[in-house]
Symmetry: C2
Subunit: 305 residues, 2 copies
């Protein structure tokens, strides 16, 4: 099973006609996770054919406007479209108050439940888990309380080697589930058929880490170690290293350094400052530290696996 | 002096790629008044070349999201662009709390003063006045507290009839201002030169009324009587008359009726529901009651005078 990331916006600060603020949709194990929700996200979702109904979980990194000003509009639109399905919103403490205040003044309650999961821990924590996926926070270093998010597939069941299984007459269909879970099979006479004879290993699990906004921050390296894809902000190039430091942001080079130290497979750069016209310079700079660096592009889907 | 209205968005409810929620800019006597500010307004302003720096007054009709969700983003962008000029925001009580709450959580104060003028009167009131322009509220009938806005030029000075003036040797340049204000000229011997001999009438004043959102509401007729242009919402066609009534909106036909009763010069229709594909039906329906009805179109500038 592959993992797909669609970029709806990958620019910093002020939205422009072809440069939208942060929002992305991660498809992982039948989930469609919306990550950040800058102004105009709902229009970008329509433009890039992201189904509104499939969004059940929204993750907000921090309360700077370019990461969440589109949320109240999206929540309202879900209501106008008569959504009934529960929506889960994960984000910093305060987000619930902001959304509810606006809903109260509009006097138009939405017809579906919104469950807010407000975050305030400074340590990485497990915030979502089901049979197939786990989501952890990645505490970041920015001007205000900010989290990245780590999305990990859980190991799937082992694959049945059907040719091998059929050789053993005592194994019945109802035994398959335990065998796929990795258990050995015990014949009636007490003899054991080793699981390894009956199954193939499961497909490799995939993982994705989202880190925006943040200064260069070594503490994340252990958390994101070895992920298949890392989205890491690179607001500036090294020509504005001091400005990056002052504003709690990263240069493309330091994003590359983090990616190299964490031994990730691919680095996806984004959150570009509007000061730069030629984005290819971001890739070149990051590649000095980490060659498999690529650029996030609005509307493009990146696939892993 | 003409009056220019640029439509940035004229659709109701949910924003779409080519159907933005309400926002418009009125140019009147060197002012650029922004009226309502749905999500995406700042991008529409860039697209249609509206200078950010010229916006000093923003008028918000009511606290349904399609009329104000773009305001916090615009205010933040003004800050990022290092605006220093004061900004005046006129809107229902609650708007200040909503904006300030979000600014507090972002911990990034803007570097310019924002003056909120919170409205809660149920009667029409004068909310802005300078030497050349007056702005009044137009209380509307909607599901929540809502105002339209009436923009009126003040009469200009009379125009000097320079050929006539030069015939009278006692009149000096320093007398011109009083003559343009309409005063007669008194010669040293006490004889009077009537003002009408020395001046032409001033150019006719222009006026614009903005009414959205509202049900059919006779009380506005006296307030908007004779305006040069009336923007009146027409969310639905008559096929959905009951829905219009239930939701506090108007049909194109009833917008036309209001325009006819108020003897306005031109009716501009807008706030179209996304249910309709062919907008020309709105014009046809309104014209049954009021022939000079035209359609608001995104990105178009309408000129009066």
């Amino acid at each position: 099973m592959s993992l797909k990331l669609t970029i709806l916006g990958c620019h910093s600060a002020t939205p422009r006609v072809n440069a939208h603020p942060t929002a992305q949709v991660l498809q992982i194990k039948n989930h469609h996770f919306l990550i950040d929700c800058g102004e105009g996200t709902q229009v970008q979702m329509r433009k890039y054919k992201i189904s509104f109904a499939k969004i059940k979980h929204i993750f907000i990194s921090h309360l700077h406007g370019d990461h969440y000003f589109g949320l109240i509009g999206l929540i309202s639109t879900f209501g106008l479209l008569n959504r009934e399905k529960e929506l889960h919103v994960y984000g910093p403490k305060g987000l619930r108050e902001i959304i509810e205040l606006q809903m109260n003044f509009s006097q138009s309650r939405v017809g579906y439940p919104i469950v807010f999961h407000e975050l305030n821990s400074l340590n990485s924590e497990l915030i979502y888990e089901d049979k197939k996926v786990k989501v952890y926070t990645i505490p970041l270093k920015h001007r205000i309380y900010t989290n990245g998010f780590l999305f990990k597939e859980k190991p799937a069941l082992r694959k049945l080697n059907i040719d091998a299984v059929e050789k053993f007459s005592e194994i019945e269909t109802c035994d398959y589930y335990n065998i796929k879970k990795g258990k050995d099979f015990i014949n009636k006479d007490g003899s054991i058929i080793k699981n390894i004879e009956l199954t193939f290993p499961p497909p490799k699990t995939k993982s994705y880490a989202y880190c925006s906004d943040t200064a260069y921050y070594k503490r994340i390296i252990d958390i994101i170690k070895g992920v298949d894809m890392l989205y890491h902000e690179s607001t500036f190039l090294s020509d504005r290293k001091e400005l990056a430091k002052k504003t709690g942001h990263c240069t493309a080079y330091s994003a590359g350094k983090i990616a190299a130290k964490a031994h990730v497979k691919i680095l996806l750069l984004g959150h570009y400052s509007n000061r730069y016209r030629d984005l290819s310079a971001f890739q070149k700079e990051a590649q000095k530290a980490f060659p498999p660096s690529i650029l996030a592009v609005e509307g493009r889907t990146f696939e892993v696996g």
